[in-house]
Amino acid sequence: MDALLSLMDGFGSALSPMNMLWVLVGCLLGTAVGVLPGLGSSMAVALLLPMTFALDPTGAFIMFAGVYFGGLFGDSTMAILMNTPGQGSAIASTFEGHKMAKSGRAPQALATAAIGAFTGGMISSILVVFLAPALASLSAVFGPAEYFALALFAFVATSSVVSDSVLKGLASLVLGLAIAVVGIDSVTGTERFTSGVPELFDGISLVTVTVAVLALGEVFRVASRLRRDPEAMVMVSSGRPFLSGREFREAIPAWLRGAGIGLPFGVVPVGGSEVPTFMAYGLERRLDKRSGRNKFGKGAIRGLAAPEAAGNATTGTAMASLLALGLPVSATAAIMLAAFQQYGLQPGPLLFDRAPDLVWGLLASFFIAMVVLLILNLPFAPLWAKLLLIPKPYLYAGITVFCALGIYATSNNIFDLGMLLGIGIVGFMMRRFDIPLAPLMIGMVLGPLAESSLRDALLSSNGDYSILVSSWITAILYVVLAGVVFLSLYGKLAQRRKERGTAMTDVDS
């Protein structure tokens, strides 16, 4: 009840005209940078950091929250329309979202994404209001052994994306893992695959790879096909702007499941919202296969709804762990942590007592930002879809410019542009030879998580491997993992036997 009262106070302070303006500015800005490939909310917040000197803390953080959530609403737009995700959290949205757009359902896909982001964000904001302290204790039971189990679990959960062609899928996964290990090893200080180039010491950033492989690779592919088969490039858009009742019913469970997967991830530092989006996508794909609908690969609405909800649900709880624990779980949260420090505020257990106005005003602004973003994004879905009417050469030239601009702005280094181009060509070759891109991205996200958590666990236990199964959380995760692997193997065997059976009868007849 206390929480509810404080939240009401929070709404009181957040709903002042000035703060409403900051929410709106933040949301618009966040959506804009989210839409542009290569520019993410972390960069927008970084660029706005000097604003902290001019604004009062409440206004500034309300704006930052708008940017953070706006980025997650906006990043799916280009992911869906042009297969070029704005930031890492939208990678999973490209898989089915772009296929929906290709089959002429671009406005519906955008609406699905917007409602998904809204659902995930709302659920997590509500949870944060009532459960912020409990979330804090959840994070304390999660040690490196649990992260490692989680990473393995995520690998298996998302393995279905490699199963179309195992060899190509694994090749892509290994490439992703290989890119992820480049850099100075964090524990021993050994250089790995850097060739002595200082620019590679800190590794290759996920943003560069995302933009290169997904956005630039797509640009190259479009450029290579533009004059050969222009028909293949034409995307028809049905006039119907909103979801039909049937589509809505189909997406609802996926939104909720996605949000459920995303929630706990905001509390544990596993590199932002990419992991849960992949897991949500993997789960939907598995469910789809099991139910025999087999809509995936052809623009399944659930394959888009779930990751969108998961991504935003993570953001909500990520803000909670920033406020209650002082633990930044994503790049954007890390920069916001710096902003708190600019005001002499330290997120953590004391913040709720020391600056209750700020905290509750900020939490209230989450709800306001969600509503503002839904209002901004839903009606604009058909409008955004019109982007596809711009002649391809101009459109993709524009995307290329923004890709390069985004990458250059984060590092101020020409070297990164060369890397962008190089990896972009790899992305193009992968498309050319039909190698799936998803496993590469998954390898890049999960690889470092698995590696660092395994090593941390073993360092902590002084090399004793039993630490990996020593807690009940890990035990449960491994049991479930074994169950899933067993079931899918059994299912495959049964299917093969059945196929062989039908083949036999075919021969007989």
């Binding site: 970084a46 000197f53 200082p198 942590l337 600019q342 330290q346 360092l459 002084n462």
Partner: protein, 332 residues
Amino acid sequence: MKTSSGVRRTVLAVYAIITAVVVVAAMTVSVKKATAAPDITANLTLIAPAGPGGGWDGFVREQQQAMRSAGLVGNAQVVNIPGAGGTIGLGRFTTMGDRSDTLLATGSAMTGGVLINDSPVGYDDVRPIAKIAEDYDVVIVPADSPVESIDDLLAEWSEDPKGHPWTGGSAGSLDHLVVAELALAGGLDASEITFIPKSGGGEAIQALLNGTADYAATGYNEVSDQIEAGRVRAVGVTGPERIEGTDIPTIIEQGHDVELSNWRGMLATKNVPEEEFQQQLDLLAQMRETPEWQDALERNAWADAWETGDDLDRFLDEDREKTEMLLEELGL
């Protein structure tokens, strides 16, 4: 359609006039600028050799803010060139030529970065202007740990050096060096340390609380609230004196010679003309006096640590020697 073309002509005329005004105005301004004597304060660039949100970024942005609000500079912009412990920023800075309007932030992390990464450039390729501020590490343990002092810690740790993991910043960072110096002070072999690198104070606290690590060394200003809230206990601080407003004893007063500071300062390009170097020095000295900067020191729990000239050179040599020795002990 006569009227329409008439309208178009008017629009074009207006457009032409506006363009002309803008161009002439811009030219006047740039001519004015070009003819003025070299004034580094007109358009100053401060380079943070780290990404936004990091320690150097905050350090540089606070300076920018103090300079601007006190009217010391016409314009000051911050540029981030992150990577490899600041050595990428350092490398780029040394190839910029002698730009007296550009300054680079530096500090302990760069001393370490140059050594760890075998950087081809170092402090010899630039001209240090001033050491400006510093802050200190605290050694913390979980609140339910039996360790109450550095002596307790060393006693427990030396029973099984490998079995008591530490956490803190990245490998070779100041946090890691603190652990190494503490090991030497306690007569332990620094290469036997188990150190789990984390990306910041928040993560280090998590590692302490979920039992991954037994002790942590991290910046006081990153964890001061967690200490106050009683989630972790501070058993020693690495500064020469206690931090103002706290009762955490220094490690020195507990009888162990461990003193390390996370210092921050500014660098100029190597061959900057003497007159302009003096201007840079004056600018930083004035910045240091501003109330905005004093406020920034307090907010960030930084201590004023002004040192220039020969003192600074001596300090840099000592810092490099000590860092080199500790890194060698750690086997990095």
